[in-house]
Assembly symmetry: C2
Homo-oligomer: 345 residues x 2
DNA sequence: TTGAAAGCGGTACCAG
DNA sequence: CTGGTACCGCTTTCAA
């Protein structure tokens, strides 16, 4: 079954109808200044009247551009934050007349890379991606850089590579979150985190800095990493339970994700520890659940939409640049959102 | 800045190198049976060795196919269920060598339709969409049908149009959910819903059927519609609060979305009504939050991934059909997931 | 200011 | 089984 292309008119059709040359039509439709305004007007009117739409493939072939960018994200949808990034990217792409492909890598880019190879090989004009640091090699990133595919990282970037990126200051954010707990009156504060990746390590570092600057002592036993957030245990409840049992005097927890905070509060409730009266909690990312939970969970807002917009902007400046542009790092500001879970008694 | 296309070899390059005709190379690479297997082998080896990638635009232009489908969804990401649909569609698309564009309509297709017009006009080979019944006209749908763009609806379909669709039996699902509450011991059951759209009306109808079949009487005052789920009030808490105040003997609630169930439980807690002991609740959709909430919320599972896969399958059968194919309706099975919020006392 | 023609990279037809 | 060639729709030289 043929698609609607059949009904669409082409530049040649317009040319024939108006008894002028296709090249003139082309020029007129792209607003070339060398076309007489009267003919330009005539052509444009005809085009609109007959619903002319430029053929995507033809222009793409001629211009050697795909007019398509691609964003690689770990989890497109279950992960709200990435969703917001996506919206930002898409908004900007639309403005540039680009389409945006979304590829969920499911946290395993190396696996996916084969399936999406055709896209990366001339299928897209540029790529926005999160760096996946599951300990494996950076081959794919190096390949992209070598092939000079315009590339911008968002949220997570490879630490030792000179690349453009839009990130937050995770250490500072962790620092502010922990400080918030201290200011709310917590004295013995633990930190529960996901796997030891770039992001989490920095957030934890911020936590350590805040504690060290405080009147209290840092106890590294209070730092918990959940290396494998396997299905059903994204909440880190097993380790949180142990933590609360072992340290009954604990009165504050900084969780590096809202999910972990949720799990912790679930566990605390079961042990009849009241939040926030006996235990103050802050999460990270400002997912919808942190607002909906009982009690609502204090968190750090990560402005995903803004980050996506900015990343796309950087990408398009690369795509349209006539020579190599310098790699830029943009750091987006975050802020603590205080809610019930860290209320002062 | 040029992209990586420059480094890629073309069919002509291969032909020149191997001193054979481009057409033969083309045939070999598409596994045509009329090419001698020895030359075919030679060509394929050379192609792989030199990392040949077919030019997307060129093939698209020649074949008059975009090799791109598009999925229109209300909210791509904040909405988990749509996210799952998306994954299903994308998986299938990849298998067919297609790319998949995602367009969030933000519940306002009429507004977006102008911006995405170029995509719909020859930009894509087919479209999967949710029907947006915000009371406005169906012009866009009719346009798509008139232009014979292969089209499949998912989740929500226009009620009076002969179209292909992948849906669930909302009435039956509402019926089963309500029955679940009855079986859990609830005797006075309310139903809180979002706006009066096709979906919600059917779920409510299912509720009514279940009540009517029970030993209890239907009281239509116990059916609440939240016509406008405005920002910050997606939870329907204002009306839920009134409901609980007015009917203190209420001991069961069927909410047509998990969000509404969440809001209801929040309200109940504030009024010191214990869930599930005094009030049994069931939601709809099985969002992550329903599992994470305290108490965890019983719900109806809507298999989004499966629905997405099926929708894409229907779409591709239309796209590849040589003549008009009949419109198909696929109904995907749902099931009640019992959790804490509806536990038997 | 406009026209003519070449060509982007594939595919498909017609010959041989 | 393979070669030659036209052409998909558009842009872009070069001429006029």
């Amino acid at each position: 079954m043929n698609n609607q292309n059949d009904n669409l008119i082409t530049i040649t059709d317009i040319a024939r109808a108006l008894k002028i040359n296709p090249s003139t039509v082309s020029r007129a439709l792209s607003d070339s200044s060398i076309v007489k305004s009267s003919t330009k007007k005539k052509i444009k009117e005809y085009a609109i009247k007959h619903n002319y739409q430029p053929n995507f493939a033809a222009r793409s072939l001629q211009k050697k551009k795909t007019y398509t960018i691609c964003i690689l994200l770990p989890k497109v949808v279950v992960h709200e934050f990435f969703g917001k990034i996506l919206l930002g990217v898409q908004r900007k792409a639309q403005k540039h007349g680009y389409r945006c492909l979304i590829l969920p890598t499911n946290y395993d880019l190396n696996h996916e890379i084969n399936e999406i190879k055709n896209l990366l090989n001339g299928g897209v004009d540029g790529i926005i991606m999160c760096y996946q640091s599951d300990g494996t090699s950076d081959d794919h990133v190096h390949q992209l850089i070598e092939r000079k595919i315009p590339l911008v990282f968002v949220d997570i970037a490879p630490p030792n590579l000179k690349v453009s990126k839009v990130i937050i200051d995770d250490m500072h954010a962790g620092y502010m979150a922990t400080k918030h707990l201290l200011e709310a009156g917590a004295s013995q504060i633990a930190c529960i985190s996901g796997p030891r990746n770039v992001i989490n390590l920095q957030r934890v570092q911020g936590y350590q800095k805040a504690i060290n600057e405080s009147e209290f002592n840092l106890n590294t036993d209070l730092i918990i990493f959940n290396e494998k957030l396997i299905e059903g245990e994204q909440l880190g409840m097993v380790r949180s339970k142990k933590l609360l049992k072992k340290y009954p005097l604990l009165n504050g927890v900084f969780a590096t994700t809202d999910m972990l905070a949720t799990g912790l509060i679930k566990v605390a409730k079961k042990q009849n520890i009241r939040v926030p009266e006996e235990l103050k909690v802050i999460g990270f990312s400002n997912w919808a659940i942190s607002m909906l939970y009982e009690p609502s969970i204090s968190t750090v807002d990560q402005p995903g939409f803004e980050m996506g917009m900015k990343a796309a902007q950087l990408l398009f400046s690369k795509i349209s640049a006539t020579s190599t542009v310098s790699e830029k790092t943009v750091i987006i500001k975050t802020k603590v959102i205080p809610r019930e879970s860290s209320k002062v008694n």
